[in-house]
Assembly symmetry: C2
Amino acid sequence: MKATITDVAKQAGVSMKTVSRVLNNEPNVAKATRDRVMEVAASLQYRPNLAARGLASSKSYLIALLYDNASASYITNIQRGAIEACRRNGYHLLLEPMPYEQANSPEAEILLGRLGVDGVILTPPLSDSVVLRDILRRLDMRHVAVAPNKMDDVHAVRMDDAEAAFQMTTYLIEQGHRDIGFILGHPNHGATASRRLGFEKALNEAGIKLNEDWISAGDFSFRSGVQAAEHLLSNPDNRPTAIFASNDDMAAGVMSVAGRLGISVPEALSVCGFDDTPIAQIIWPQLTTVAQPIHKMGFKAASILISRDNPDDPKICTLDFELIIRESTLGGPLLK
Amino acid sequence: MKATITDVAKQAGVSMKTVSRVLNNEPNVAKATRDRVMEVAASLQYRPNLAARGLASSKSYLIALLYDNASASYITNIQRGAIEACRRNGYHLLLEPMPYEQANSPEAEILLGRLGVDGVILTPPLSDSVVLRDILRRLDMRHVAVAPNKMDDVHAVRMDDAEAAFQMTTYLIEQGHRDIGFILGHPNHGATASRRLGFEKALNEAGIKLNEDWISAGDFSFRSGVQAAEHLLSNPDNRPTAIFASNDDMAAGVMSVAGRLGISVPEALSVCGFDDTPIAQIIWPQLTTVAQPIHKMGFKAASILISRDNPDDPKICTLDFELIIRESTLGGPLLK
DNA sequence: GCAATTATTGACAGCGCTGTCAGTCTGCAT
DNA sequence: ATGCAGACTGACAGCGCTGTCAATAATTGC
């Protein structure tokens, strides 16, 4: 038989309400009372019923993570962070994958409407869907976007992708590279544009003319990195000396093609990626890349949803990135 | 203003209970009534309140996924499968990471006690924790283990790890290998023992004497694969001609060491892994490995929890695996 | 010492839904 | 016509908790 609040109340000789107050850490309970209630609750192995609590307080203590992301390592990192924040506040994390295309369809509204959570975390590329954010607003659901681009009307947790790409490119230039190829990410992702922007800005500031031919399409997948690399490296007489891929998977694709073509990395070709996924350390040579505080972003996002203070003024939280220099770029022209 | 069942009932001119019946697909409702209620519900944009429903029916429509798994790709695959099953039945998936060590501590009981879900999915290595399963039983929580080893007292979804390892090893032997190294998985995982068993059985049946020196410890991490490989390949005069790593990450570690030592794969060394994670296709040469139906396992596990029929006789569901032969083993002694 | 606060507690009414059970209404065999 | 199973429907209580508000006790200031 499961113990209820009533049981605890009787046993402790107080009212249900007082037990409730103790259990929710509300103020204005005498220390002695509080202790007694806690003790009884423990001895009875009392466990609050989430559903009842939710019904009475019209809170669900649930946060949903909405995502459509091919990268397992990205999504599990976000999850870890978000769950950490949830745990600290008695919340739980619900998983809701949603294909990007579906985000713009009526299905999305139905799914979300049924959800009944206290908040929603949006990850790229869903965080870039205006339609989805409209639905959320219409449904009056609190939400925070994990997104690279700025949006003033929404709570957001972000990282300065453009600046990171700028710094990485600048680093390559400092290594003596002037012929730098760039592989774009998936067009649905806001990060794709931001990273490109940073790349081009760096070239620009260094007075290097942009070679449009050396900006190659991609979609964040290993395979697309392979294709892009095949294109970029196709002409033996006119190759970039460095390739900056918009993520690590594609960078791994580049390295694989380089290997096959007998182009040694980093001696003949520097390669760098973005995200610092586990693969960056598994491939050889290890990959220079940008580390994102993904875990922290998940944490922050959930924390914003849980904290009830001034829920109306949208807060934007920008976290730091870090350039991780590894072997794959330690062979620039300057070293020769 | 959110519509409730009462609103729908009024509008449709029926009782709340009838609306409830329609919404839950219960029998014994006239088609005309059903249609009318559906229509009104749609027009009012009615969305059931999970908490209320849960409170009244003492079901939560929530399933928790308990895990402690370093492999992002494994866990996201399980998640995908489980969510698919949940979606089909109006359930949602809760994420609950739990370190293996914690599973044996009182904390686990507290965490689980508070959970209030209708079922719990256990993934390796948690599925191997007897303590954890005891807690679950004591708490009277339905659960199903995703686990390689047999347990008669629990619902389980499994794959025959031993048989898979047996077949893979046999395949290597058929390629002409007689000197085969083996890298163990993490000792906490039941799969580790099963895979070893299959490996040894295959050697045995082929009449090959087991060389204990060539069974090397590991923990499923890339790094441990590197260490194991350094050990296995340390003696140039006496090396295995094939290495079977208990998972893909470690196999990648082997390939990386082989590359560094100038041992070409697969010409001088065949390598195979287990799991068919994305990395198997990213490294070069691509990895021969065992594909597990991880997605399907998640699906099955959630389905078992959701289906209420004969909940007492534990069902064990064994799914098929598949040997995936890729380049990394296409160079056995027989080919020379 | 007495009024004005403030701290502490409890009674009670639901939150929105479903389970129970009793009722009405059909069709069909007698 | 009469009875009866089965299909259909509704009244009602209550799931376990919290919000509201009123009641009482403790504390303060003068």
